[in-house]
């Protein structure tokens, strides 16, 4: 794998950022810069583990969907033996697109240009008039390019293009514990409902990842209308009770969580009794089960760009009780200051049909292109990208304030007793989760070799920090 060298201006910008992050500063220009975007495509998306599809989208042998790593098109297919393959969608002959339907089923793929044909494992098996045209071709060298590694966790299929990348479990690190507590709890597992919804914003992918890493603060203001109309059964201020968790390696979560399960309000993210009965305490540890039981809302981001939300919501507050919406969203980079959002809704495999329809309507009505929460998010995100490409952002090295939670009297306390991996802060008035995202982003952007793991580290004591600053 060969990385293009960083240009001087980008290297300088990144160089200043590590020190800046210690002070809670993030350079505005990173949200809309052509050279940073190109470097991200190689250094972040070319090396990290990217979400491709959920296994329930390709259940049968031959099932495939077309997805992207960064801006690169890939075929995500289950071969006849049941193995999931992630294959670069470019014929080895002239580079033409092989699969052109966004979804299909095929045992073999035949390129429409000259007819080069591949098994759905990616192996090349022939071409028209093969013996006349290619008497000497060694087919084994001309298969579709495969992702270096493919793996899955709870049915979520990830892939990486970098053979030096750690295995998926190591990459996820502490985040794995939280994914288990959310998704292992029902042994029948999850499935996706239908096709993903896709829409396009003139904003940076990092704004989405930033928001879902634990920006609950904006729910007080941007989403104030939600409280006014009763779409979410939790008061916005009370919702700030909870924990921000840096799970390590740039993965972060945010839980709105009751002090005790008897506090009133939703438990198990508001799943109804019928679903909660299917939760198996023996499938997770007692600590995980306890967190699940006290959880109201869970939000998070798997580095780099796969976010998720678990929350009780309703679009018909007068007649329909909130139901638990479970959505994942991928913020795909499409260019500097351009993002394509992909959104999926999931249900438990054993959820009754009647429940699914209500859940889907609540999800689409709140978190989608037309969702009454999500439609407001695009506004500030787009204006962030507008400011980021400004001359001022570059010539004045405009720095943004990511300082919430820092300082002598922090607005959130480090919680050493938190039972899960990583570091946790409470309440949620803090931005350490975003700083952790950008720190990991910096690791990928600056490192010529695969970045070493970055475990979440507890904050230094104020005195020790002052001592180090003066050393």
């Amino acid at each position: 794998m060969r990385l293009s060298p960083l240009d001087h201006e980008t290297a300088q910008c990144l160089n200043g950022m590590a020190a800046g992050l210690e002070e809670g500063l993030v350079a505005a220009r990173i949200f809309n810069d052509e050279r940073i975007h190109r470097a991200e495509l190689e250094r972040v998306f070319g090396r990290a583990w990217t979400f491709m599809a959920h296994e329930s989208e390709i259940p049968a042998p031959g099932d495939y969907v077309l997805r992207y790593i960064g801006t690169d098109p890939f075929i995500v297919v289950r071969d006849e033996g049941g193995t999931v393959r992630v294959l670069f969608d470019a014929c080895r002959h002239r580079g033409a697109q092989v699969c052109r339907a966004e979804r299909g089923n095929a045992s073999h793929f035949r390129c429409s240009y000259h007819g080069w044909t591949y098994k759905n494992t990616g192996e090349m098996i022939g071409a028209p008039s093969f013996r006349d045209a290619y008497p000497n071709l060694d087919r084994s060298r001309w298969g579709l390019i495969a992702a270096a590694k493919v793996d899955q966790v709870h049915g979520f299929i990830f892939a990486t293009l970098d053979p030096d990348a750690p295995d998926l479990d190591d990459y996820l690190g502490g985040m794995r514990w939280y994914l288990d507590l959310m998704f292992a709890i029902n042994r029948s597992g999850l499935e996706v409902v239908g096709e993903p919804q896709r829409w396009n914003m003139r904003s940076d992918w990092k704004s989405g990842a930033d928001n879902f890493s634990g920006d609950d603060y904006h729910t007080l203001f941007l989403h104030k209308s939600m409280g006014e109309i009763g779409a979410i059964p939790i008061d916005a201020r009370a919702n700030m009770t909870g924990y921000h968790i840096q799970a390590g390696n740039g993965h972060c979560l945010s839980f709105s969580i009751a002090e005790s399960a008897e506090d009133g309000g939703p438990t198990f993210w508001g799943f109804p009794a019928g679903i909660v009965e299917t939760f198996d305490a023996s499938a997770v540890s007692p600590k995980q089960f306890d967190i699940a039981r006290r959880s109201r809302v869970a939000v998070g981001n798997i580095f780099p760009n796969l976010s998720f939300l678990l929350s009780p919501l309703t679009v018909k507050p007068r007649t329909v009780e909130p139901v638990t919406v479970f959505t994942i969203r991928q913020w795909q980079p499409r260019g500097p200051g351009r993002t394509e959002a992909w959104v999926w809704f999931l249900t438990w495999k054993d959820a009754p049909q009647a429940d699914r329809a209500k859940v889907y309507q609540a999800g689409i009505g709140t978190f989608s292109a037309g969702g009454i929460f999500e439609q407001d998010d695009a506004e500030p995100w787009q204006s962030i990208a507008r400011g980021a490409r400004s001359t001022v952002a570059r010539t004045h090295d405009l720095q943004l304030n990511y300082q919430m939670g820092l300082g002598a009297s922090p607005s959130a306390r480090f919680e050493p007793e938190w039972p899960g991996p990583g570091v946790a802060f409470r309440p949620r008035y803090e931005e350490g989760v975003q700083r952790a995202l950008y720190r990991r982003w910096l690791d990928y952007m600056e490192s010529e070799v695969y970045p070493a793991p970055r475990p979440a580290s507890p904050p230094l004591a104020a005195e020790a920090r002052t001592a180090r600053a003066h050393a």
């Binding site: 339907a101 966004e102 396009n200 779409a231 889907y360 292109a369």
Partner: protein, 185 residues
């Protein structure tokens, strides 16, 4: 009245043709009025032209090979609305915190290619129309264009006015060329 059967038949046919013309004109007037309400941001009035049992949906669309059909999903939606959920949307836009449409978009809806036919229920019509939605926002010159076909069901109310009982929005897009769907089609 003429006793000539050909003349009676001709009379009947022209009566039917006239009734069809009047019906088409009424349908066009209704759809144009509905567009006016939306373009003028008169959303509470727009809710009033919707029937209480309205089904308002827009399926997600993906690219399929020609023999695989037009690619509309049967399980994924951009809109999956009824009267109550549409009312929630409108009420929200009327709060002071609905930033998606505050400042409001400048929209212009172009409805055309209107085809109306009698539905199997006596007081209902099946109506197909094209819609092009032009949408400008803020102070930039860029604008969005959303294109779709709408399959509607119009119902004649006791007042003689038409109401919208059903709308199925069939986008000409797979990945939507818009930053949100905060407007109605």
């Amino acid at each position: 009245m003429s006793s000539n059967p050909e003349r009676s038949q001709g009379h009947l046919e022209s009566e039917q043709a006239l009734a069809g013309l009047i019906r088409d004109r009424e349908v066009e007037r209704f759809l144009v009025y509905e567009c006016e309400l939306l373009d003028d941001n008169r959303l509470v009035e727009w809710l009033k032209v919707l029937e209480p049992d309205i089904s308002y949906r827009a399926p997600v669309r993906i690219t399929r090979e020609r023999t695989g059909g037009p690619g509309f999903s049967e399980t994924s939606w951009h809109f999956l609305e009824d009267h109550e959920s549409l009312t929630t949307r409108v009420l929200r836009l009327e709060t002071e915190y609905a930033w998606a449409e505050d400042p409001p978009s400048r929209t212009r809806r172009f409805v055309s290619n209107i085809r109306a036919a009698q539905a199997e229920i006596a007081n209902e019509l099946a109506v197909t129309s094209n819609l092009l939605l032009y949408r400008g926002r803020m102070d930039g010159p860029e604008a969005q264009l959303l294109s779709c076909e709408r399959h509607d069901r119009l119902r004649c109310r006791e007042s003689g006015e038409w109401g919208l009982a059903e709308r199925r929005i069939l986008f000409d897009h797979t990945s939507l060329p818009t930053h949100n769907l905060a407007v109605f089609l």
